[in-house]
Symmetry: D3
Subunit: 330 residues, 6 copies
């Protein structure tokens, strides 16, 4: 599949796809794509500030670059759009007010992308979507062959939020309990604050889950922690990245529903994402919890856009079997 992005001023043009890639709504025309972007614009399952239904649009539009074909990531020396055929599949047919129906629509659309042999990248939406999207990807593999690295403030391993089981605080509990992902294939990075409860941690330990609190990142440095993450996922042949934008500090990502001070900087997160994708490739990815009504100057949406870009750059290096080569003066 040959894909051309539109090259025009970023704010111009009639479309609104991710980085001006083509919009391919027909699932039958996805064949040949390496990566397919899709949106999951829902927020009924948040427990505090809503607004993530506007996340996919904002992440797509937070792009000052237009589709200039000469651009490369200057630390990686590669243009992901040059290596990968990337298209935008639009949004899942979510249903306002019926979040479980939205989950079904997400399942369906992720399935279409997988059917086309492409890597799905899902723009959320609240983190509840991790259950349908990771489940759909995991089902294409043997049990245990898919590892999930989750960047997040909160473990999202609750059994319910005020009685609601599929809420944005529970997907990883059900992914494990329903034998979709083995506990020891889930690695969480960035935990801080007051969630999860001690009982959840007990459960997570019993299930073999691994996690790295912000306190550890602060103490040991992000590189050492990611070294460990690489070890922890070394046995799993495939990798899914689940990135909750609230893993970033509120200074870097105010536009989210449950911000927690003391988080990561983009200088920590962006290279970590890229490294994981470079070294391990990607079977799928979601980026969740960008809430535009609480954003300003689009900085959160832009961070989300760049998180996806770093994953694409990493995947491009991985597919091209190319070493990152930063642009140096000599």
């Amino acid at each position: 599949m040959k894909v051309n992005r539109v090259w025009e001023p970023a704010f111009a043009g009639g479309g609104a796809t991710f980085q001006k890639v083509p919009l391919v709504l027909d699932p039958d025309k996805l064949a040949g794509a390496d990566v397919v972007i899709m949106g999951a614009p829902m927020d009924e399952f948040v427990t505090y500030r809503p607004g993530t239904r506007f996340g996919p649009r904002a992440i797509r539009l937070a792009n000052d670059a237009g589709g200039d074909p000469r651009l490369r990531h200057i630390d990686a020396g590669i243009d992901p759009f040059d290596v990968l055929a990337i298209v935008d599949h639009g949004d899942a047919e979510i249903v306002p007010g019926d979040p479980l129906a939205s989950h079904r629509a997400i399942t369906e659309m992720v399935g279409q992308i997988l059917d086309a042999g492409a890597v799905p990248i899902i723009l959320g939406g609240d983190h509840s979507i991790a259950h349908p999207d990771i489940k759909t990807v995991a089902e294409r593999f043997e049990f245990g062959d898919l590892a999930v690295v989750q960047f997040d403030t909160h473990a999202d391993t609750g059994t319910e939020n005020w009685g609601v089981e599929r809420a944005h605080g529970t997907p990883f509990y059900y992914l494990v309990e329903e034998n979709i992902i083995p506990g020891d294939r889930i690695i969480q990075v960035g935990l801080r604050g007051y969630w999860p409860f001690h009982e959840e941690f007990e459960w997570a330990r019993a299930k073999g889950m691994k996690w790295h609190r912000m306190e550890e990142i602060d103490r040991r440095g992000i590189n050492a922690v990611i070294d460990d993450v690489m070890d922890e996922i070394s046995d799993a042949p495939n990798l899914f990245l689940s990135v909750d934008i609230d893993v970033l500090d509120p200074a870097y990502a105010p536009g989210t529903g449950t911000p927690e001070p003391g988080g990561m900087t983009t200088r920590e997160l962006l290279p970590a994402i890229r490294r994981l994708a470079t070294e391990r490739g990607l079977a799928g990815m979601d980026l969740v919890e960008v809430s535009p009504p609480y954003d300003h100057a689009e900085i959160t949406a832009l961070a989300g856009n760049r998180i996806v870009m770093e994953a694409l750059v990493g995947l491009a290096l991985n597919r091209a079997e190319q070493e990152p080569r930063g642009e140096d003066p000599r």
Copy 2:
């Protein structure tokens, strides 16, 4: 019941009740109250911009007055807190992510207020709450004895929104179809724009509903229209007011989910509310669709606060059997 408001600078004090009335969470202690304020902080049933879950808090706090016992409405010459025992019952036990459960909680809390013999005023929340709250009030009367005057841009008479029946665009359809309120007991004021569909209007005509488009208000003046509304509800012994803040123009109420240009001014709406309550009293009221994430300088929340205040002033005049007497110079 003797009720004292706290008298202090509006921004000070530890509580956050409506106009600094007492917080009475225990339903058994509501007896003796004339009016009880409650919140219904939910927004899962909106179809566009969410945020109304923060509405009740914002409406309560948008008060520059503190609880000064010397205040009177200067056009009405009365202090509603002097005439009426008004308390704040807190919020219904809504469940984030399970809006039907929230409807049940609203039903329960409105019931508690009615059991106490008080008039419930419900601060939304999206307009879907009109179904449980009006239903609960209507069931205390003979069928047909409760009229509803709805100030709204949209008729909210849809059968479903993308398949969801209890959405914020449908309550009045089900109130009629389920024989809770007869069609000819629903009067809508302020319709404009592109909703409802022609088919809905056909249904509404068949059911005997009445409505007044903004075009009519613009042409005939708000007073003439409210004269007609008074006639249209003259047979019904009891009155429920359902006020969607989006009946106001976006200039006056930007903080809402589905704004529509061409709406009412507060100079039209506030006296209309007061007149209805003055002449007919109130069996109940809801004020919905205030969405603080889209508000600025709290002007929408303040408009909501004053809409409730006007209803209280009107009800106070009605109960005191007192004529409004504006403060004039001579």
Copy 3:
């Protein structure tokens, strides 16, 4: 041409066209369209606050309706998308930093639309675009056969702004002086404040231009003024509408570059637009000066969206030779 809009929640979907009409970038595929929307995202020619380059995108996205085929304008009783084949042609190939090149691109794209036999509706951008877009439309008619009704705070009849001739304060001077539009075919509505200069008014009088200050609208009412406008354009067979969003009061349209208190309300402007299009049809239209960085809660973009919608509704009535029929209760 049969055109289907996408019917989905307004905030969802991969595209970003006006009201979810199809995106038709290829000029050769415009044939059969009745109306073509295009953007002119430029702002280099503003003299105070910039940002209108983000106007076209914002006006397109300020839509809470999705593409529901059941919607009708409730005062007009018609769905313009039912009567008219409407598509979105994307944006002109504007050049950041070279506004005259952008003018050439606008000229070219308007020409494509006219070649396809469709009515162009141009979303600005600053008001300088009125020169290329009106010129391109006017050249398809005999001199004098196109009247322009301009809703605006400012007459935009300057000879230059600090030496720049094609600025946003000058298009109507050059349209007249270059014999594109006769002076007596330009009717301005909404003037107030401190522009233009007395010398410009002298020139305008000499050229036979007509105008209606806000003071007159306030005194006589908008309907009487539009009656006069209808008379003033009665001889011209064709009509172009040029709507500067700043004709609205800043309360209604804060998101613009040179706001001026004392302006029109949407209740005055929207029906006026609709009436002109209904009675006279449309040869073309531009809507300019929406500046999203200064907007809040999208109320200005939404006003812009509705101004275009009213024009479409009017044009649909005109083409269908149908009387407006508001939805009445009986």
Copy 4:
């Protein structure tokens, strides 16, 4: 005194005076000026939202016009800067945290302006400044020779705010009680909502004060009300205007401390100000309660700027003994 304004793009230039008039800090150089603008940037005496200390700066900068010498008010046909020598005297030496010291500084600076024979226009600041500024002006006249027309939501006739006598809710009580202005020389326009108390109205009646509630403006129209105001001040040889920006509706002036829905539009207020100044001239003026932290898109500051401009236009007509002559097409 010959005064030249700087003519440059409004956003450019190193200064920040009102409409780019000269900055004259030295009181000895004020002689020859007709009007002197000064700021009173204080807010310690507000009872709800602060921020008016940034009011003078914002009102000065809210100017899209630069100092173009060709501008005229298009309804009045006059350029006030052409008729009047207007300079900006900077701000009074207010003392943060010691508002009574700020009052003394305001008194001093107003005195300097009066000593120079000029009309002072004071940009607030909270409304407490009306006491020192009106007192200073009144003392130059015989008792009773100065009338005050106050545009305001609130009468500001309290005896104290939580014990503070010189607060922003009390200046007019003390102006009367201290025999600075006779009660029957104070005319209030725009009262609404819940202030003042009934007891204050009783006091005001006893003192012979006059007022016009918004309800009357709504019912009779602003022109009829201003006709009455003209009568009510007809005996007083001199006029002071005290304009609280909150007389405008929050839609028009969100950036203020104690907004109250149901207020005036700029289409009502601006011509009223101009008419008063035109027919009666001006002995002084203050414009208070613009609070930039709560403003957006500068619409409140701009309204403030234009209120002052209308007063200047009116005063220019008065001094030039010229009839207003709107720019008409023929």
Copy 5:
């Protein structure tokens, strides 16, 4: 005293206390509480941007957690509400416009809390409140038995601000000069920028004060600096924490009156607060200068909320004589 927090969605419920602890307005009912939260909502003594009067309310409401009894701090392994009886005493009876009266009210309320045997935590308000609140606490101890650790950009050791002695830039000068706290018992952390003056530093040296500039934190790391702070306060039996939110960088705390770039991150500040409270307990604390009108997405208020939470967590560990035990995977 057994204290139960309300467990409900954070945005719901009728109250507005800190983290949904009970509101105990009656000072006689404070007995048995370990910690009492109170507000000091004043801002008359700021020198630049006001708004801190809204600080206490915003800090209380910036809580996404509701009152879930299962929450623990995941780095400390403790729930402070489980160990400590914490109640909210509402706000001091501040007087708008009379900041010294407000100081007296703060003194009184802090005294009530101390009388009840509880630790007061005061939510400001501007930093001037440090004088009355620290003085009130210090007077309960022998002179020298109370050390103060102040996190702040500015030393606040001025003698006056434009002549005002009790301003927000002076409390620590008077605490020392009035022999309330010995100079060598005050440790300042985070100084940067342009305050205080050289003369103030000379005075501070003479008084034996200690401080740590941001430059030192940047060079040596926060842990080494806090090690030194622990040494510097080792002789004092009791500790008061005074935290000015502006010690954080404006990226982390934009909502404050006198922001200064180059400040602390929350990853530095939060653990430092917790460590001090853990190792030394708390005799009292204030958190000041949160200015909501300048905040966005509540990130500053949230940082303030978490600063208090960290202090509570530390105090809980201290009282429980428990080691912090982070939740680790194995």
Copy 6:
């Protein structure tokens, strides 16, 4: 030249110069000044978000300090206004809509400052101004005697932006190609993201340019990188600093046109600026791309203000031949 700043509350006073230095518009009166501040308020050459035309005003006003003569930089121990005669020359006579004319005006005004023997500090404006301002300074030296250290996300070495050669993405290409600055005299710090293209890097290498990506700063630390920069410019006798505010992370500088996550903190940038100025003095400086419409709580403008302040502090140390001496406790 003896220069006195006005000492008053920062928000007060009639002027709006940088840190309340005198406004000296007349170029003939600049003689004797050591440093002259000027503005270049233009934004026509940006490629994404505009607004920098309001940058100079915002940078000047973002000052909480007033002009207190007692202030010193507490890490440097010096008051730049004490050592250097600093005045504000206002803004260049830019022409809205004709950015090349604005470039000529900038050239003229920088020339006036250089003629007066002073160091120009230019407040942008977009980065296109670096071409005229650096060219004007460079022409006063032998070719190669002026080094430029550029702090920036983007190299700005493009040949054109959509065909526009003098855009904000190209100044450094033309400075080199036109033999104004030798390639090996340009050192870029902070590059990240996707610009420039590989071809530009090839060109830059061929020209001998040096650069330091953020990746290097992150890896080696800012001090090591600045050590290298000091070496790289050691041969050049004179130094020009060109600081694009977007070198800061969007968390620290949201108010800019083309933000890119992963940037510098103010704790890295401010001391680096100061060190360069201290050790090498300054021949000139520009600070560009502050876009107030996208700023909040003025944090970007304040960062810009402090960047200039650090340069002034460094230059003062350099001129006074004084070592920085931080204020230490003992």
